[in-house]
Structures are given as structure tokens and as C-alpha cells.
């Protein structure tokens, strides 16, 4: 047969029987599908997945807020694989309340035996397995009675007569209030029991994933040797903040716009303490802890806790004064100034000649290693602390540049003032 005439194949030879043609078409489709499904993964840090992992590990009820179709189920699949738990997904909106509170079974003699509430099959299997990850999807599109039954499941871990074993972890998902069709929202007492995580999609991840490469997050692992240290750190951080700011302990959300979100109460602070300990023991970034803490006690109190954690990280003024030559000051300007202010405050609290000299040495060190404008305020304050019999240390000459900097700033301010008057 001549090979150069591809269109002129004799039909009697090439046409197979019709049912075979169907089969081969399906095979081709199958091949195409398997090609489409062949994707690779690449490592990529994912703060929201890390936060979810920690909250689930800490056995706190998590509520994922996110629009439908942005990969919540995919994330849960990855989480289940990482925690080595079988995943059970229950779409809340297609169930009836009795599927969660149990179906009443009327027996032969209800007065004698009572009416048992029979649990659904997935719950029985979950209890039998003793462990698993239960994902309650579409919580907010279910009718109110279903939601009520579900909340009992999430918060009390009961389905009908069954009690879920401690090895089962529960995650719920809901649509944001603005897109929930029938206006489901959490009352403040309920909202206070959840860790709220906003689930968003990353444009870059989606585009790259559809191109064939999905991200693979390395999920945090708890380090067994750091547990005691983590508990100590978390207690110090939370108690330190609440001792100084008693108003933060309990603040019921007052305005309509903060309803249904996280707010601080002793219960949610305890959750925060647990989450801080888990974050410390697994060594995750502050960004992950920020998501968790702000999702538990709300933005304001959460940010205050994070700020006080930052302060816990700063070097201790007494240690800096003891060894000014070996001091390592933070690079960031605002933190560096906070440290220098702390050092000057320490000298003010216990004024001694040696400490005063050490503080000057520190300021000189700060000028030599960073921006000079940060040193102006601490230097002025420190100079004012001088006692009559204290000699000025020689090293202070190295701060001459700072003094002239301050003077030039004053002159510029004066010029700005006159320029303004002239403009009037």
C-alpha cells in the first residue's frame, strides 16, 4: 500500500465494527483525562494551611470562611494526608437535622425501652475507626435546624447517642455573610467557640496549578523536645499581656459589623494560649501565629498579643548594659529605638556611673552600626540623667555627628515654619 495517500484508505479494511469504535473512543477519552490529571507538585509555603494544621492539631473547632469553589476540600485532603487521618466529608446542606441529631427509632415498647436516636452510617464508621478528620462543608447554606444540630456536633462532638472519640478532628466551612443566601450568621457566644480562618485563593497558585503544578506545603511538625518550653512561653506571653491590659480579657462585640467574628473572652484567650504553645513547639512563622491569634480573639487584641511577643524577643536592657561591646541591636529602626529607649529607662531606674557609661557606649555602638537619627532621643534623655560628679566619657565625641544632625533638623524645621509664614 502506498504510504503517501493517507486519505484513501479502503473503507472495508479500516472500519472496525461500531461497538469497538465506541470502546476505542472512550479509551482515547480516558487517555486524554489521564494526561489532564497528570500534574506535579512543588514545595511552597502556605500560611493558611499551616494555621489550619495547627488549629486542628490543637483540637480546637475551626471554622473556614470562604467562597465556594476555592479549594477548601483540596486543602482538607492535603491536611488529612499530612496528619495521617482518613477524611470524611459531609455536605451539611443536603442533610436533614435528624442525620446529625439522630433518627428516632420507635421500637416495640417505647415506654419500656425508650426511643433510641440512631446515628447515620458515616458516624458509626468514624466511631469504629476511632480516628479521622470530619469535614462539615457548606455549614451556612443548610437550614437553621440543620445548623443547630451541626453546632452540637462540632462543639459537643455528639451525633445522636454516639460520642465521637478524641481521635476524631472536626473542621467546618461556611460562606461569608455577604454571600450566604439565607443570612446565616453566628451569635456571639457561638462565634467565641471557634477559631475563624479566612480561606482565600492565591491567584498565582491557581494559575500555576491549572498549568500543571500544584503547591505542596510542608506542614508544621511539633518538636517533642520543645513542649515544656512552648507551654512556658505561651503562658508568659498571654498572662503578661492580660496582666497589663485587663480590659482585653473580655470584650463583647458591640457593633453590627463585628458580629459573628472572633472576640476576646477568657475562653478564647485559653484557645489563644494553646495555639501559641502549638505554634512555638512547631516553630512556625509569626505570620501563621498571627492568622490563628487574630482568628481567635479578634484583630485588635490579637495584634496587641503579637506586639508583646515582639517585645519579648527584644534583647534585655540589663544584659546589654552588662556587655555593651558585644551587644547585638535589632536591624529594624523602630525596634532598635525601642531597645535604646529601654536601656535609657533602665539607667534612669537605677542611676549609677558605670551603667551611665555603658549606655553611652551602647549609643556609640548604635550610631556606628545603623541610622543616626534613632539615637537622638535616647542620647538627649541620657544626657539629662547626668549627676554633677559624673565625668563625661570620651566616647561621647563619636556622637558629635548626632548632635549636628539634630541641630540641622531643628534648622530645617525653622525654615519650614518661615516658609509657611511667607506663603500666607
Amino acid at each position: 500500500m502506498p504510504t503517501c495517500t493517507p486519505f484513501a484508505l479502503p473503507s472495508t479494511l479500516s472500519a472496525p465494527p461500531t461497538d469497538q469504535a465506541h470502546a476505542s473512543q472512550l479509551d482515547v477519552a480516558g487517555n486524554l483525562l489521564s494526561l489532564l490529571r497528570t500534574t506535579t507538585t512543588e514545595p511552597r509555603p502556605d500560611t493558611q494551611l499551616e494555621a489550619l494544621t495547627l488549629a486542628v492539631a490543637a483540637d480546637l473547632p475551626v471554622l473556614l470562611w470562604g467562597e465556594p469553589g476555592i479549594g477548601k476540600t483540596a486543602a482538607l485532603t492535603q491536611l488529612a494526608a499530612a496528619l495521617d487521618l482518613p477524611l470524611t466529608t459531609v455536605i451539611a446542606s443536603v442533610h436533614e437535622p435528624s442525620d446529625f441529631s439522630g433518627l428516632p427509632i420507635v421500637g416495640d415498647d417505647p415506654a419500656e425501652q425508650g426511643v433510641p436516636m440512631a446515628p447515620p452510617d458515616w458516624a458509626v464508621r468514624l466511631v469504629r475507626a476511632g480516628r479521622g478528620l470530619l469535614f462539615l462543608d457548606e455549614l451556612s447554606t443548610a437550614p437553621p435546624a440543620v445548623q443547630a444540630a451541626l453546632l452540637r456536633l462540632v462543639l459537643e462532638r455528639r451525633i445522636g447517642a454516639l460520642q465521637l472519640p478524641p481521635g476524631v478532628r472536626i473542621v467546618a466551612a461556611a460562606n461569608p455573610r455577604s454571600s450566604a443566601a439565607d443570612g446565616w450568621e453566628l451569635s456571639p457566644p457561638l462565634a467565641n467557640r471557634f477559631v475563624h480562618l479566612q480561606w482565600t485563593h492565591d491567584h498565582e497558585v491557581v494559575v500555576r496549578g491549572l498549568g500543571g503544578t500544584w503547591p505542596r506545603a510542608t506542614l508544621p511538625r511539633l518538636a517533642p523536645e520543645r513542649l515544656a518550653e512552648a507551654v512556658d512561653f505561651a503562658r508568659r506571653a498571654v498572662c503578661g499581656l492580660l496582666a497589663a491590659r485587663p480590659k482585653l480579657v473580655h470584650q463583647l462585640p458591640s457593633s453590627e459589623s463585628r458580629r459573628g467574628g472572633p472576640w476576646p473572652s477568657p475562653r478564647s484567650w485559653e484557645m489563644t494560649l494553646h495555639l501559641t504553645a502549638f505554634a512555638t513547639a512547631s516553630g512556625v512563622s509569626r505570620d501563621v501565629l498571627s492568622l490563628l491569634v487574630r482568628g481567635t480573639v479578634g484583630d485588635g487584641p490579637g495584634l496587641e498579643l503579637l506586639a508583646s511577643l515582639d517585645r519579648l524577643d527584644l534583647p534585655d536592657p540589663e544584659e546589654l548594659l552588662a556587655d555593651p561591646a558585644g551587644a547585638v541591636l535589632p536591624e529594624r529602626g523602630d525596634l532598635r529605638q525601642a531597645v535604646l529607649d529601654g536601656v535609657v529607662a533602665a539607667v534612669r531606674n537605677r542611676p549609677e556611673k558605670s551603667r551611665w557609661d555603658a549606655a553611652w557606649a551602647l549609643l556609640v555602638h548604635a550610631v556606628e552600626t545603623g541610622a543616626p537619627d534613632l539615637v537622638v532621643v535616647p542620647a538627649t534623655t541620657l544626657a539629662a540623667l547626668r549627676r554633677e560628679d559624673w565625668d563625661v566619657p570620651e566616647s561621647i565625641e563619636k556622637l558629635a555627628g548626632v548632635v549636628s544632625l539634630s541641630r540641622r533638623a531643628d534648622e530645617a524645621a525653622a525654615r519650614a515654619k518661615t516658609a509657611r509664614k511667607a506663603a500666607r
Partner: protein, 420 residues
């Protein structure tokens, strides 16, 4: 940074005058003490690619040595404050959001964003110790009113031939969200992580809120809203009405009152069934003189739209116009003809009574009022949502017989949504 004169092409590259740059930062921090920690958190990076000064979203500040050299200290101080304002006001994040929502792409659109962001900042950043550079972009440049937000200015700023002089303007990716070639990116040195950025912004906001009076009004408003942006009242009112109307006792829910059809297939099991009862909503409208027709109209339309979204029939929504005396109730299908006449004082208690006296009592009462009224002493037997027209300057409440009169807040049992 918006100064009009173009960077002169010098032949011998000068080193960056760091002392001058930091002197300017010191002056800026002295003039604006509430921004000091944010100013000090910025990390300056010398760059010959930027024309003036530019910021990226990781709080690095790229500085042109030539620009520092030829700009007086007092003007540089203003530039510092200007650049840090872009970051504090999250212009890059907001720019990204606006670009996504409105489908804006390309450098031209980002330039418009940069201009709009400059307008938002510049109307109150200069003066009071900071010199305004020549040719700075202000709302007046585009004949626009002061005191608006970047998103609002963006609608009105058009790029035209007149804008050619501004085409070089560039405050960097921190001002509009578009990455520049000189950006060091997220992995570069001295960048601030998201959490650190939030922490700095939060500290500045707390500082302003803690010492009201030291910062101008624009910054105080920013501090109030930095971490709690106000939600549109339509969404809030909608959520409140929907949750009231779909709560237990109203609307669609399961009931054991009648067995489900599913029961037939499962003998011995009693299943609840899904029953539907559309919620009845009564809208009590304050028609006293202090509420304008436009306000009432938009709020009433909103409630009607929510009710029909709930599947409620329009005839189940009744309207009770009420000033000192509640007249008859109307059904919403005749909304066009409802006489919203009134004026004078208000007593909403009569409105509540009229709504509850109806033949079939409502599941939800929605009250639209400016709050200049006495409230019922006891909780009505249905859910109540109050849409409160905000009155920042409560001149309407002044009574010459009783100048100290302050109207009561709506009671605790009502869900209150501030409108407007």
C-alpha cells in the same frame, strides 16, 4: 514622589548623603510624632533607578542619591511622611483589590492609582512643620474635592495630555501594587513580613487613638478604620433582616408537626418535614421632619429587595408610616402610593403598636429612623431590626425648651444597623 522638576542627568554619580536623609527623617518624626515608629521602621535602600523616592510593599524605601542631593532637608522630610503614608494606608493592597474588582491592567492604570493615592495623602500631609514641594499632586490638580479616598479619586482621574508632566511620577510598588524592576522582592534583605507590617500599622493607629487631638482628622479616621474598615450598611442591614426573618419561628425550617414524605420508606422512624412559611415583615418608617425622603426611599427599597430575596411575597411586607401618630398600615405592593407625610416630633411607640395590632402579627419589625424618639419599654413579641440614620452632628435633636435633651439609644433587644 511628586515634585515637578525632573531629575537632572548628572554625570558623576554622587554617594548617597545619608546624614541629610536621616536629618530629614528626624525632622519628619519631630513634626509628626504619631508617625515616628512607622518612619523608623522604613529601611532606606540607595537606588539609581528611581527618580526621587519610592517604597515597596515590604517597607523598603528606595532613594535616589541625586534627589537627596538637590532637595532641601525640609522638603525631604515631607517626602518621608508622604512615602510612609502610602504604606500605612495600605495603598498597594487596596490598589491590587481595585485592579482586580474593576479589571484595571497596565502601567497607565497604575499611574492613575498612584495619582489617586497621592491625592488621598497630600490634602492633609503638608503644612504644620512640613514644606509642600512644588508641583505636588493634589485633589485640586484635577479640580476634585478634598478629603476623599483613593478609590473615589480613581473614578474621576483621567489621563490626558495635561497629565504628561506627571507621567514620570512614581512612588513605587508600595503606592499602587505593581512591581518595579528595582524592587528587592519578598526575599530581599530588610523586608517586613505581613505580620510585622500589620504590627507597625497597628501601633501607629493605637498611638493616634490614644492621643486624639495631636493628629489631624484624616489620620484619626484612618486610625479608627485601619483594622476595621466600615462595612456598607446595605450588607449589614440585609444580614440583620435576613437572619431575623430566617431564624426559628419564621420562614422555612424543619418541623415535626407533620411527618416527612421520606418517612414512608423507613417504617418505624419519625422524620421531620420541611415546611415553608414566608416571613411577615413590618416596616415602621419614621416620617418626622428630620429624615430626608432620599434616605427613606433607599432604605425602604433595600428592605423590599431583601424580603423578595427571602422568597417573601410583597403583600406580606407592610409599611407603617409613623411620626407622633401612626396611621393605618399599608401593604408594600402599593408602596408607590404610600403617603410618607408627617413632620414634627416622633413617637415610634405608636408605630410598634400599629404594626403588632395587624390581623396577622409580623415575624420581624424593621424600624427606619434617626433615633430621635422614645422606644417601647418592653420587648415586642418578634425580632426587631433598627436601621438608624446616622446623625454625626445631632443638630436635629436640639430642643429650645430642653437644650440638654439627648435621645435614648435603641434598646438592647433590637439589632441596630447604622445607615449612611
Amino acid at each position: 514622589m511628586p515634585t515637578a522638576s525632573r531629575a537632572a542627568g548628572t554625570t558623576t554619580p554622587r554617594p548617597l548623603d545619608r546624614d541629610k536623609l536621616f536629618t530629614a527623617r528626624l525632622q519628619a518624626a519631630r513634626a509628626r510624632p504619631y508617625l515616628a515608629s512607622a518612619l523608623f521602621a522604613l529601611h532606606p535602600v540607595e537606588s539609581r533607578q528611581v527618580l526621587t523616592m519610592a517604597v515597596d510593599r515590604y517597607w523598603r524605601c528606595y532613594v535616589s542619591p541625586v534627589f537627596v542631593d538637590r532637595t532641601p532637608v525640609e522638603e525631604l522630610a515631607g517626602v518621608w511622611v508622604h512615602e510612609v503614608s502610602h504604606l500605612l494606608r495600605d495603598h498597594h493592597g487596596r490598589g491590587d483589590r481595585v485592579a482586580r474588582e474593576r479589571g484595571l491592567t497596565g502601567a497607565g492604570e497604575r499611574l492613575r492609582m498612584n495619582l489617586a493615592a497621592d491625592c488621598e495623602i497630600n490634602d492633609d500631609v503638608y503644612g504644620d512643620g512640613l514644606v509642600k514641594p512644588k508641583g505636588v499632586v493634589e485633589p485640586g490638580t484635577f479640580r476634585l474635592p478634598e478629603g476623599q479616598l483613593m478609590e473615589e479619586y480613581l473614578d474621576d482621574i483621567r489621563l490626558g495630555p495635561r497629565m504628561q508632566a506627571l507621567a514620570w511620577l512614581d512612588c513605587g510598588s508600595g503606592a499602587d501594587g505593581l512591581d518595579r524592576e528595582w524592587d528587592l522582592g519578598p526575599d530581599g534583605a530588610h523586608g517586613l513580613s505581613e505580620q510585622e507590617r500589620d504590627a507597625v500599622r497597628f501601633r501607629v493607629a493605637q498611638g493616634i487613638k490614644g492621643r486624639p487631638g495631636s493628629a489631624p482628622e484624616g489620620w484619626q479616621r484612618w486610625a479608627e478604620e485601619a483594622f476595621h474598615p466600615p462595612q456598607p450598611w446595605r450588607e449589614l442591614l440585609g444580614a440583620a433582616v435576613r437572619s431575623a426573618a430566617s431564624g426559628s419561628g419564621a420562614g422555612e425550617d424543619y418541623t415535626y408537626g407533620r411527618p416527612a414524605r421520606r418517612s414512608a420508606g423507613v417504617p418505624g422512624v419519625v422524620l421531620p418535614s420541611l415546611r415553608r412559611r414566608p416571613p411577615r415583615v413590618s416596616v415602621v418608617i419614621d416620617t418626622s421632619g428630620s429624615v430626608s425622603d432620599a434616605e427613606l426611599g433607599s432604605a425602604l427599597l433595600e428592605v423590599a429587595a431583601i424580603c423578595s430575596a427571602l422568597g417573601g411575597r410583597r403583600d406580606l411586607v407592610t409599611v407603617v408610616p409613623c411620626d407622633a401618630d401612626a396611621r393605618i398600615t399599608h401593604s408594600l405592593c402599593r408602596a408607590e402610593g404610600i403617603p410618607l407625610v408627617g413632620g414634627g416630633g416622633t413617637d415610634l411607640r405608636t408605630g410598634f403598636r400599629a404594626a403588632l395590632r395587624a390581623q396577622s402579627p409580623p415575624d420581624v419589625i424593621v424600624v427606619l429612623t434617626d433615633g430621635q424618639t422614645p422606644w417601647p419599654a418592653t420587648r415586642p413579641p418578634c425580632r426587631t431590626v433598627v436601621g438608624l440614620f446616622s446623625r454625626p452632628y445631632s443638630d436635629g435633636s436640639w430642643d429650645e425648651n430642653d437644650p440638654d435633651y439627648v435621645p435614648d439609644r435603641p434598646p438592647d433587644w433590637a439589632r441596630v444597623v447604622e445607615i449612611g
